[in-house]
């Protein structure tokens, strides 16, 4: 299990290949990978995206989210990589990878990791385009996406930390 928060670019394909090899060696039967990419503005012209984070809390929050995923699903491995700093359109922002004996656990755990890190890990995005710079607002859909995991949390008596 691994969490990395870094300024440097990473090679998504290479990360996936390495993750898959390690997962296969540990006997996993399914691997799911996802990456997020810096999207251009609706009208185009994005110059760069600045990602700010809260050093210390970021690693703790991602570690807690990953630990929660391991409790809920039978995972052989999980990986979260998230960048901060200045990124250009088309660059890879972040990735998650999960490995499990069967595909359902790998898919669900990857979706869970994404849903939680979107609105529970302390990252903030600022886009600079033709009109100047603006902070990206949180989407209500992202908050709502967490609700689909709350039934399972209620059955077990708790959920990942967060107000």
């Amino acid at each position: 299990m691994s969490v990395r928060v870094q300024r440097e670019a990473f090679d998504y394909g290479r990360e996936c290949a390495g993750f898959e090899r390690a997962a296969a060696a540990s006997g996993a039967g399914a691997v799911v990978t996802f990456c997020g990419i810096v999207r251009d503005l609706p009208g185009g012209g994005l110059r760069h995206m600045e990602i700010e984070h809260y050093p210390g809390m970021t690693e703790r929050a991602l570690g807690a989210i990953e630990a929660e995923a391991r409790q809920r699903w039978a995972l052989d491995a999980a990986l979260i990589v998230h960048r901060y700093g200045s990124l250009a359109p088309g660059e890879t922002i972040m990735m998650v990878a999960t490995a499990a004996p069967h595909r359902a656990d790998a898919f669900d755990a990857a979706a869970f990791l994404m849903d939680y890190l979107k609105s529970r890990a302390p990252f903030w995005k600022k886009e600079t385009g033709p009109e100047g710079a603006a902070w990206v607002a949180a989407r209500t859909e992202d908050e709502a996406a967490l609700e689909r995991w709350s039934d399972a949390a209620a059955r077990r008596g708790d959920g990942p930390g967060g107000a």
């Binding site: 700010e52 809260y54 979107k118 529970r120 990206v136 607002a137």
Partner: protein
């Protein structure tokens, strides 16, 4: 008590600094916010819409009514936009 208070994203920009040490007798986060707002207009502006502000105490998300006893680090920031 002495608190390290951190600000992120537009809260940092509006207040004009990333962190500061604050001596306070506030018992809860809400009391600390009320105290900060009386300091200067830039604080008042930053905390004008509390629906858009989140708080973490010692790097764990908390509610605005959370007690500050034993806390060392308080961070204020907008809703998170990771991923």
């Amino acid at each position: 008590m002495t608190l390290q208070v951190l600000y992120f994203a537009w809260l940092r920009e509006r207040i004009g600094l990333p962190r500061e040490e604050i001596e306070t007798r506030a018992q809860t986060v809400a009391e600390l916010v009320a105290e900060l707002r009386t300091r200067e207009p830039r604080y008042d502006a930053a905390f004008a819409d509390m629906a858009a502000v989140r708080v973490a105490l010692d790097q764990e998300l908390a509610g605005m009514d959370a007690p500050l006893a034993g806390v060392r680090e308080v961070a204020f920031f907008p809703p998170m936009t990771g991923g």
